[in-house]
Amino acid sequence: MDESALERYFDDSIANESDFLLGEELDLQSPPPPGKGPAPSRGVQVAEELDLSFLPDELSSRDEQSRHDNTADSQIVPLDVSQDSGISGDYNSQDATAESEQGPSMSGPGTGVSPFYPMTPMTPMTPMTPVTEKSGIIPQLQNIVSTVNLGCPLDLKFIALQARNAEYNPKRFAAVIMRIREPRTTTLIFSSGKMVCTGAKSEDQSRLAARKYARVVQKLGFPARFMDFKIQNMVASCDVCFPIRLEGLVLTHRQFSSYEPELFPGLIYRMVKPRIVLLIFVSGKVVLTGAKEREEIYEAFENIYPILRGFRKQ
């Protein structure tokens, strides 16, 4: 890379950098868009080494503020930093070799011209704070709903007569309601042979419970099998242990949230990715539902936690 091309690159990045820093400033309340993540924190580190006296006071104080926010609230820029650190790192090494070829004369104008520039070929990069700073809270599963096909038509009256733990009221509902003690679950058994099992606290418990119900039906004389077991819904709950300003949250996340205190005391947040519905209450308790896999629940909670922290204040 020749000198003029490098200088042109530096000039370009200065033009873009000011956007990055401004974006950081305005987006302090909410997570900044991914593309803009890495630059401010890098810029801040560089600022410690370089002389910023020629900059107007306002800019340097902004750096101070963003540095503070970075140390106190590093959650706000978690994933973004990791995504880009790799890329910058590569570029860095590339540039370092280019620099060393050119000799020390290059480094002067390079670093002097662009104080906010993310890459400092001469200074070693300090490692970033670990990107995945988790909340430390794990949502607990409260209920799993699953379905299974026993594969043969059933005589519900016969089952209700022969089984101790069954209730059947055809006028009210067209299915037998059966319960077992261990795992403590309830099931609805339909005459088509299909079954819905609810109340388990984990996927394996749900599967075990469904198998037990199938065994009971088998023992009663039906050729029951265990086909197409599928988890349909998982519900989990947890507590973030601080109060949440729901009115503020519904204003900033209008497209996802619905808060009607006249109808329901909690805020209903429909997350798009993963597709989960969260009920958020003023006490800090959060209920997550609509998941087919456990990971969706964990991912949804890790997504909402930084947003909720933004609304915790006194």
């Binding site: 075990l208 300003r245 808060y259 005391p265």
Partner: protein
């Protein structure tokens, strides 16, 4: 439109007009107001003489617009006129109603639900044009349950893909305070003008919102409590202080909401906590005598809030230092590991770690946290289940009746059926 040839049975006048009430045709005497005759709730007039083919099956090339759609539109206009909204909102609600009515989720629902839909269209238009109206008001107009109307409202907003602004309690306070009839026709000591009443009520609601009394709660009882306290504190003479919330609502001709009494207690608690920080006050404040100090408290509420929170921090400081000393013996260092973090942050973090009793430590916390319900302690995961374990026969047998049991059960069922 006057009806000739008819005379009112009440006063004998012939001044009788068509005055439809929502979907019901009525003939009413203008002079004495009595209803001369009322039509059936269904309107058969259009279909008199029509064939037996139902509307949806007609093959006529030029279908007349659906009567229910027209009636619904009239209904929307009627509600807009009752609420006295401006022309813009009327037009907007009409467009929403026409769109929603034709949508597949609403075209085949019951007529009652279509009425709710009309109300919801008015509601969403009011919200979008910053005209304060609560769902409670709309459900009162429709004579329906709040929850049902709310369900239709949510469905409509999703179906029509409207981004309606969320509820804002401050918009509604003024409109609600107008309802309280305590400016005229009331004894001198008890009368109050609406402007002062509303102004103070707004301040009280702001304070309540800052101290977690409002979030997650029904707004109307909060407003009622604020208006009651505002009225009492504007002239805290013994007549006003003597009057309970029930009597106040009777006086103002407003229907009392049950949670309002609890809100009054909660607000008084907040006021007491702030009143404690007033430097020139000698006496201790209780919920009984705090009403007299409300004016001062509201005037300096932000300063008092800051003082109260700082006082709480200082009270908790020795406690947190003590817990820090229990850990590695670098106590003086602990208070200053992170200069960017304020003491409040640190205390909050330690409170967070404690988990369940963070509500008890904070000065102001949502009441549902402070008075947390005792939950039944769930048994921890007793076993790690794999889902593929062996299922013992004996366990399954315990769920099946013995033949004798089954016979007896069948006998008993037969006895009941006879």
């Amino acid at each position: 439109m006057s009806r000739s040839g008819l005379s009112c049975p009440g006063c004998g006048s012939s001044n009788i007009v068509d005055d439809d009430l929502y979907c019901q045709a009525q003939l009413v005497c203008v002079d004495c107001g009595s209803v001369v005759s009322e039509g059936a709730l269904t309107n058969e007039s259009v279909y008199v003489g029509a064939s037996d083919v139902s509307y949806s099956r007609t093959t006529a090339g030029d279908k007349k617009p659906c009567m229910n759609l027209l009636k619904g539109r009239h209904h929307v206009i009627a509600m807009c006129r009752i609420l006295r909204v401006n022309r813009e909102i009327e037009d907007l609600s009409q467009t929403f109603y026409s769109r929603a009515y034709q949508h597949k989720s609403f075209i085949r629902v019951t007529l009652r639900k279509k009425e709710f839909l009309a109300g919801c269209c008015v509601l969403v238009s009011c919200r979008m044009r910053q005209w304060p109206v609560t769902i409670g008001t709309i459900s009162c107009l429709l004579d329906a349950d709040l929850v049902e109307v709310g369900a239709v409202y949510k469905e409509m907003v999703t179906v029509l893909n409207i981004e309606a602004p969320s509820f804002n309690i401050y918009d509604v306070i003024e409109a609600h305070s107008q309802e309280y009839k305590i400016s005229l026709h009331v004894a001198e000591e008890l009368a109050e003008n609406h402007k002062d009443l509303t102004k103070r009520a707004v301040e009280l609601v702001e304070l309540a919102a800052d101290t977690w009394v409002v979030t997650g709660r029904q707004p109307v009882p909060v407003i009622m409590a604020a208006i009651y306290l505002s009225w009492q504190s504007l002239k805290p003479n013994r007549h006003r202080l003597k009057l309970s919330l029930d009597k106040f609502c009777q006086l103002a001709k407003v229907k009392k909401q049950k949670p309002a009494a609890i809100r009054v207690t909660e607000m008084k608690e907040v006021l007491c906590k702030l009143g404690k920080e007033i430097p020139w006050l000698g006496e201790t404040l209780t919920p009984d005598n705090v009403v007299c100090q409300v004016e001062d408290i509201l005037k300096h509420r932000y300063a008092l809030l800051r003082r109260a929170l700082r006082a709480r921090e200082e009270a908790l400081l020795p406690e947190s230092l003590a817990s820090c000393e229990a850990s590695p013996p670098r106590a003086p260092e602990v208070s200053d590991p992170n200069p960017a973090e304020s003491p409040v942050e640190r205390r909050k973090r330690s409170a967070e770690d404690k988990g369940s009793n963070w509500g008890a430590r904070a000065l102001f916390a949502p009441p549902c946290v402070v008075h947390a319900k005792r939950r039944r302690v769930e048994q921890p995961e007793l076993r790690d289940v794999t889902g593929d374990e062996e299922i013992s026969d004996s366990e399954i047998d315990s769920y099946i009746r013995t033949p004798r049991e089954a016979r007896e059960f069948a006998q008993m069922q037969n006895m009941f059926l006879e």
